[in-house]
């Protein structure tokens, strides 16, 4: 079946697979430290950062987008925790307040400047991986989609960071109090996790969009967590499950002639249901 794909379709498939794998790694740590909804919040509010970056720089350079989105992502996590602490608002409500506000600001800027900004709010919301092969860069005398290059970069970065700071990540995820008493800077480690997560989310926007990226962040991690109780197994399994579900989702979308991003999210949900039916009792 692989043979029947055109070169463009192959690039889409490869980009989606790399994207799912890159997202699954930080997803595991977010899920374990009960911050899954923060990922959802960050992916919404990144729109404000991207829109502001457009407004200030006037270009579609991914680097500016990345900086803007990371600022608004960190603002979401910091702002919601400060709001919860200072104004005695429940943490989930505070998160809801911050991300809906930033998302709205982003949509308003984009709608107001729609002519200058070649960007459609709907596009950012649910992503159009079908357009990936049209933005290419020349590397080693070959036209490679820009998205694929960035996502491969972030996948490698995630894997390297994860293996270098393995001990720190494990300790702060499972026992932040012990980590603090042992002298680790838990806050810095948490901020670093958020930083990397936001970067991964933003780079996945073109492929999967801001809401569907949450599916590839959390669902593979949740599946792996159902299957195993060992962190190492979970971290290895999650990207693999992500890759498998994105490949299945891609072929499903081809078969049904529908949105690739949407189908990938549906398939991750289906894989989760399968895992639930097989492993849910092993608490």
């Amino acid at each position: 079946m692989l043979v029947s794909l055109s070169a463009d379709e192959l690039w889409v498939l490869a980009t989606c697979a790399v994207c799912s794998a890159a997202c699954a790694v930080p997803g595991v740590f977010l899920m374990l430290s009960r911050k899954s909804l923060l990922a959802d919040g960050i992916s919404h509010s990144a729109l404000a950062g991207i829109a502001m970056a457009f407004l200030i720089s006037g270009t579609r350079n991914p680097l500016y987008m990345l900086i803007g989105a990371i600022i608004s992502g960190l603002l979401t996590s910091w702002g919601s925790s400060e709001l919860a602490k200072r104004a005695h608002i429940k943490p989930d409500a505070a998160l809801g307040i911050v991300f809906t506000t930033l998302f709205s600001i982003g949509v308003i800027i984009i709608s107001a400047k729609a002519r200058q900004i070649d960007l459609d709010p709907g596009c950012v919301l649910y992503g159009v991986p079908e357009f990936i092969p049209f933005h290419t860069s020349r590397i080693f005398d070959r036209d490679i989609p820009t998205s694929f290059i960035w996502l491969s970069g972030i996948l490698i970065t995630n894997l390297v960071l994860c293996s270098v700071f393995w001990k720190e990540l494990k300790l702060t995820t499972f026992d932040p109090l012990l980590a603090t008493t042992l002298g680790f800077n838990v806050r810095a480690i948490n901020d670093a996790i958020l930083f990397v997560t936001t970067a991964t989310i933003v780079l996945s926007f073109e492929a999967l969009g801001s809401i569907l990226v949450v599916a590839v962040l959390i669902a593979p991690a949740a599946c792996a967590y159902l299957i195993s109780n060992r962190l190492l197994t979970v971290v290895i399994l999650a990207p693999l499950i992500g890759i498998v579900s994105s490949v299945l989702g891609f072929y499903g979308a081809l078969a049904l002639n529908t949105s690739v991003a949407g189908m990938i999210a549906v398939v991750t949900g289906g894989v989760f249901v399968l895992c639930m039916s097989r492993w849910s009792r092993r608490l």
């Binding site: 899920m31 009960r34 911050k35 899954s36 909804l37 990922a39 959802d40 919404h44 104004a87 608002i89 429940k90 989930d92 409500a93 998160l95 809801g96 307040i97 809906t100 506000t101 998302f103 709205s104 600001i105 949509v107 308003i108 709608s111 107001a112 729609a114 002519r115 709010p121 709907g122 919301l125 649910y126 809401i211 569907l212 990226v213 949450v214 599916a215 959390i218 669902a219 991690a221 949740a222 967590y225 159902l226 979308a253 049904l256 002639n257 529908t258 949105s259 991003a261 949407g262 189908m263 990938i264 999210a265 549906v266 991750t268 949900g269 989760f272 639930m276 492993w279 849910s280 608490l283």
Partner: protein, 308 residues
């Protein structure tokens, strides 16, 4: 078109009254239900329900080939309730925590909605043009029959809240006590979720799936700043919700449309209004506290002195 002609045409248009009444009722109902769901730590379940309503809308459209609001509304409620059930199923049957369950359900249902709407678009003769407005909201397209549905939902929500006020307050503040007293706690909670789904589904055409949760969170949080009594919070939250909706809808209609191509979506403007209201309340409350601080301390010392 400039600002003044826009205001005139806005005030004289017949549709304006429908849209204003509809969104005000919607804001009121959402504010009231939001007060309970926020207290019960279910604020972001509303977000999940809103996103999850998309596949229901698409399926209803696919089955009935009807773009009017009522069938889409029913589809939205069905898939919203299904998503709430999924969350509680995942939470009770596995070691997955509730936040992951919410995020997972939300994104998978939304993905199904996107896939379905694209599929409908690619079908021969099918067009999902009307379905797109459910994502970011288009209050100006509210029709008279939509108003009937929204009014029905608002009336139902308000009357049920009055009827079950005591029970709702009890499960929000002390669920275990309610269970000990013999109240059907689970049924009451399901009932509250059903009311929330109704409100969310009614809010979809005006505010959109991504932002309707703001109507469930902002008004109760703002009301909570000004009062600590549940009755006052609930009523004030309803009023604030209505106010935000009316302001947002009016602003999005008045802002000149040649300045903004394609017109502003209503949802984001409503959210920005609500956010401004909330930050004004926070600042005002902080100022009041600052001014009152010395006298309060004095009161406390005199009181303790009296006790001695």
């Amino acid at each position: 078109m400039d600002l003044s002609t826009n205001i005139v045409s806005y005030l004289t248009s017949f549709n304006t009254a429908t849209v204003l009444v509809g969104t005000a009722l919607l804001g009121f109902a959402c504010g009231i239900i939001g007060a309970f769901t926020t207290l019960r730590d279910r604020a972001l379940v509303g977000d999940c329900v809103a996103h999850a309503s998309l596949p229901g809308i698409c399926l209803a459209f696919l089955l009935l080939r009807d773009r009017s609001f009522l069938p889409l509304f029913c589809g939205a409620i069905c898939s919203g309730l299904l998503s709430v059930w999924c969350i509680s199923f995942i939470r009770s049957r596995s070691k997955i925590k509730s936040d992951s369950a919410i995020a997972l359900t939300l994104s998978c249902f939304f993905g199904a909605g996107i896939a379905l709407s694209r599929w409908i678009q690619n079908l021969p003769g099918g067009s999902a043009a009307g379905l797109d407005s459910f994502i970011l909201g288009k209050a100006a397209s509210l029709s008279y029959s939509d108003l009937a549905t929204i009014s029905f939902v608002a009336l139902l929500t308000v009357s049920m809240t009055i009827l079950f006020f005591k029970e709702f307050v009890l499960i929000c503040f002390d669920r275990d006590f309610a269970a000990v007293q013999g109240y059907p706690v689970n049924l009451l909670e399901i009932f509250l979720m059903i009311l929330m789904c109704l409100c969310v589904a009614a809010g979809l055409p005006a505010v959109g799936a991504v932002l309707v949760v703001a109507l469930l969170i902002f008004p109760p949080v703002t009301a909570r700043i000004w009062s600590e009594r549940i009755r006052t919070v609930v009523v004030l939250s309803g009023i604030l919700g209505a106010l935000c909706c009316v302001c947002g809808v009016s602003l999005s209609a008045i802002i000149p449309s040649n300045y903004i191509s394609g017109g502003l979506p209503t949802g984001p403007i409503i959210v920005v209004c609500a956010a401004l209201l909330l930050s004004a309340s926070l600042i005002a409350k902080a100022l009041i506290r600052l001014i009152n601080k010395p006298t309060n301390q004095l009161d406390q010392t005199t009181q303790s002195g009296d006790l001695c």
